[in-house]
Point group: C2
């Protein structure tokens, strides 16, 4: 009896974790920065990404990259628990500070919504990044 | 004395881990798939991504995504320990199988080398994906 109870709870927890993964919002932001502001922008963006992941439970990951051949072309992989977590993120003081202070530095911005091809095994694909 | 030895070993291990992170190869592959083959391609790609991360210690992560508005446009975030790990990956049977069996399905392929903006705290940015 105890065994079945444990099995039931395990299935419940697994299915709720899976449900969360299905709702996950995946985005690839394409940002071009005015070269005059690149260093300043990068500093502000790094602070904002770290703060978001540290403070907000619904911000799963923000991973900023620059194209090696064209370093003013940035790409950000953003993972949010769900759309609500993203809407919440937009209202935080650290995001608001980032947004207002970098407005003049951004030449173009494209927010591309993505779907993970393999949502079910996503954590496995990143498990080696554990610290 | 024992304390200093432990401290020394810890610093040694941390600095080698940091060195590895500095060498890390980050890539964003831009792939367009012939719509007739999309399902078939996706199945093969998922298998290949999982096998690479599972079998190869130097393949840190492969994360395949599709643009929601244009699902034949795929983007792959690829993280390799270093260039040697990537060269090794190209020689594996699972990569070779993927490459030959999907050749006719790929309409265009662009391999864009990236730099992580915040290499030092990268694992922290992904820590919530732990399972």
């Amino acid at each position: 009896m105890k065994y079945y109870l444990i099995l039931f709870i395990t299935l419940l927890v697994s299915s709720s974790a899976f449900a969360q993964k299905k709702d996950m919002m995946v985005r690839l932001a394409e940002i071009e920065i005015d070269p005059h502001y690149l260093e300043e922008y990068t500093t502000i963006l790094k602070e904002e990404s770290r703060a978001s992941v540290e403070i907000e439970p619904g911000v799963i990951a923000i991973f900023p990259m620059a194209q090696r051949e064209n370093p003013t072309q940035l790409r950000l992989l953003e993972l949010y628990a769900d759309r609500q977590a993203y809407e919440q993120h937009l209202k935080t003081p650290h995001f608001q500070k980032y947004k207002t202070s970098t407005l003049k530095m951004v030449k173009s911005l494209k927010l591309v919504e993505m779907d993970a091809l393999d949502a079910a095994t996503m954590p496995l694909l990143f498990r080696k990044l554990k610290q």
